[in-house]
Amino acid sequence: MAERVQKIVRDRLSILCMEFVETARESVEARRRLLDQFSQAYKALSIAAGYHGYIALEKELVATEGVSKIAAGSRNIAGVRTPSFELTGPERAIRGYSLVDTSSCVDRAAQLAEKCLESTAELAESQRSLELLGMEIARTKRISNALEYVMIPALQATMKYLYMKFEERDREEKSRLKRIKVLLQ
């Protein structure tokens, strides 16, 4: 029974480790993508600022504050509840600033900034999942080790002791029977 429990715990541990590695890979990728996108967005914004001037750009961007919707839920990976974020809502063609007074540089900067938001949500999801999976792996590993090094050896020792006791009783019984046989003869 203990071995069966250990098997399932080990199975779960291997799945958690596989998911952890995948999430770590994803997290690194998301972080790299986010940095790239932020650098591109800042570059585009500085080009737009250079083209229009800071004051004119700020004047246009004051009116563009929009609310981004994010669908937050959860998903379960082998018993670990991890968060799930997804930016929802269609891509906006009109962002609020005047199309007459601005150029395509502002459009490009806005587009890249929206992509940054999406990547931030992705990174937050994978980062938190990574932490939760790590904690669960540590917990499962403790259980697996307790079974492997404490419970199973203890049970095996008890079994061995009982087996020896039964054998001893068996031998005693045999010698008693022999003795009775001799006495009867």
């Binding site: 429990v5 199975d11 596989m18 995948e22 839920g73 959860s74 379960n76 997804e86």
Partner: protein, 142 residues
């Protein structure tokens, strides 16, 4: 039954309950999920599981529109028979078709199961993170 055995059995039951708590109460078809604003299913423990729209759209691109009604999500992946193997539960041939397209290899199911190996499982989970779900093999209790 020894007290140790009873304790271990209780522990195993609890562990299985925890790791299988995320099984959906009922699966939903891909077509239904695509129609929902927030595509989700409810788990046995009452929590909700949110599907990524991108993944649903990816799945929809793999199969015809009429087959989308028959593809039930999340796809269940059974673990526990063998350390190196996993079984994908497939009722009907649509899951077979989808898995074969996702893994880019021919796949044939046997007794409503597709057997895949760990590297393929990792690939499958990488592509279908929210539309697949693990099930731990409960027959270990027998």
């Amino acid at each position: 039954m020894l007290p140790y055995d009873r304790m271990l059995q209780e522990y195993l039951r609890d562990e299985l309950r925890v790791i299988n708590a995320h099984l959906p109460r009922n699966q939903k078809s891909l077509a239904d999920l695509l129609r929902e604003e927030y595509p989700h299913v409810v788990y046995n423990n009452g929590s909700t599981h949110l599907f990524k729209r991108k993944e649903l759209e990816y799945l929809a691109s793999l199969i015809d529109a009429d087959k989308q009604e028959a593809l039930l999500l999340p796809v269940l992946i059974e673990l526990g028979q063998n350390q190196g193997e996993a079984g994908v539960i497939c009722v009907g041939g649509i899951v077979e078709e989808v898995i074969s397209k996702v893994l880019d290899m021919p796949i044939k199911g046997k007794q409503k199961r597709i057997t895949i190996y760990r590297p393929q499982l990792a690939l499958l989970r990488r592509k279908l993170k929210t539309t697949t779900q693990y099930v731990f093999y409960p027959r270990v209790l027998e």
